[in-house]
């Protein structure tokens, strides 16, 4: 916990200063989670504000302060899901085109005008974003929480309020779909590599 239980209780009682402190304590962590869940840095702050807005109006429904972090995660997941559903976009880049894009990036890197490390990060972001677009927004969020955020099944059980086995099944299916898309993209890259030789 990043804050004391007393502070949460005070915020629940309508103390604006206590609520401010809670937001300040969890702001950075929430921004990070949202950034990884939605993959669009330009929208992260708006979604984070929506999360804290929902927190403000639902804090009185929280029974025990011990469950605060799972509660906040749930609000984050819901806000991220709403955002993804609203802005569900067709990825501008297709898996098959990745090799071409990678080559363009490699050229850019060779020109030494762009930092290689930054280029690699951008490539990773775009690849994962593309792979995650092969599953539904719900599965994207679940998979990101498990694989990227590192939440355990117990944590996910608290966040979703769902049975561990049901979550396992859903995670397995989502991962298989992503893996299939990854396999396809790898094959596409290899083919493109052979073709260009």
């Amino acid at each position: 916990m990043l804050v004391e239980f007393d502070l949460i209780k005070k915020a629940q009682g309508g103390d604006a200063a206590a609520f401010n402190q809670v937001v300040l304590a969890y702001r950075r962590k929430t921004l990070g989670t949202i950034a990884r869940l939605i993959g669009r840095p330009e929208d992260v702050e708006d979604v984070a504000q929506e999360v804290f807005l929902r927190l403000y109006f639902s804090l009185d429904q929280l029974r025990a302060p011990e469950g605060f972090e799972a509660w906040l995660y749930r609000l984050t997941v819901n806000a991220a899901y709403d955002h993804l559903r609203k802005h569900r976009r067709r990825a501008e880049t297709r898996v098959a085109d990745l090799s071409e894009q990678q080559m363009t990036m490699a050229d850019a890197a060779a020109s030494t005008t762009v930092d290689r490390d930054e280029l690699r990060k951008r490539q990773v972001r775009e690849t994962v974003d593309e792979l995650l677009s092969s599953v539904s927004p719900e599965d994207r969020i679940l998979l990101t929480l498990k694989e990227v955020e590192g939440l355990s099944l117990k944590d996910l059980e608290k966040v979703y309020g769902a049975n561990e086995n049901a979550l396992k099944v859903r995670l397995f299916r989502a991962r298989q779909r992503v893996l299939k898309a990854f396999h396809g993209s790898e094959k596409g890259t290899q083919k493109a590599g052979v073709g260009s030789e």
Partner: protein, 122 residues
């Protein structure tokens, strides 16, 4: 071969996810984060206050209308000849009687031409 590829890809996918965590751009919270948040909270509070107020007016108005109608029913003159004074049995009997009164038999009428043709007039 395919399974080998898949298990190889499993590991690479795990690695990719791990890299993704570090590669994601986490924007620094801007100076306007908290003021904007409080503005949104206040805006939503005022909206919900308005709806609460309007719904309160509707509840009060409907309660007043109910009270007025209840008073009008209680204090108004009772009808001298109530419409539904008869019993169920009376209503059934009346209905039965009207059935009988409406019962008609077909009337047999001979044509005038037949009379003349049959020689009755002759």
């Amino acid at each position: 071969m395919l399974y080998e590829n898949f298990s190889d890809n499993e590991q690479r996918l795990d690695q990719l996810f791990a890299e993704y965590r570090d590669a994601c751009i986490v924007p620094e919270p801007g100076a306007g984060f908290m003021p904007a948040l409080w503005q949104k909270i206040e805006a939503r509070q005022s909206t919900s206050w308005f709806f609460r107020k309007v719904s309160g007016w509707f509840v009060a108005a409907s309660a007043a209308a109910t009270a007025v109608l209840a008073l009008a029913l209680l204090m108004g003159p009772s009808p001298a000849n109530p419409i539904y004074a008869e019993t169920y049995v009376d209503a059934l009997a009346a209905d039965h009687a009207s059935d009988y009164s409406l019962y008609t038999e077909p009337v047999h009428v001979d044509r005038v031409a037949d009379f003349s043709a049959g020689g009755i007039l002759e």
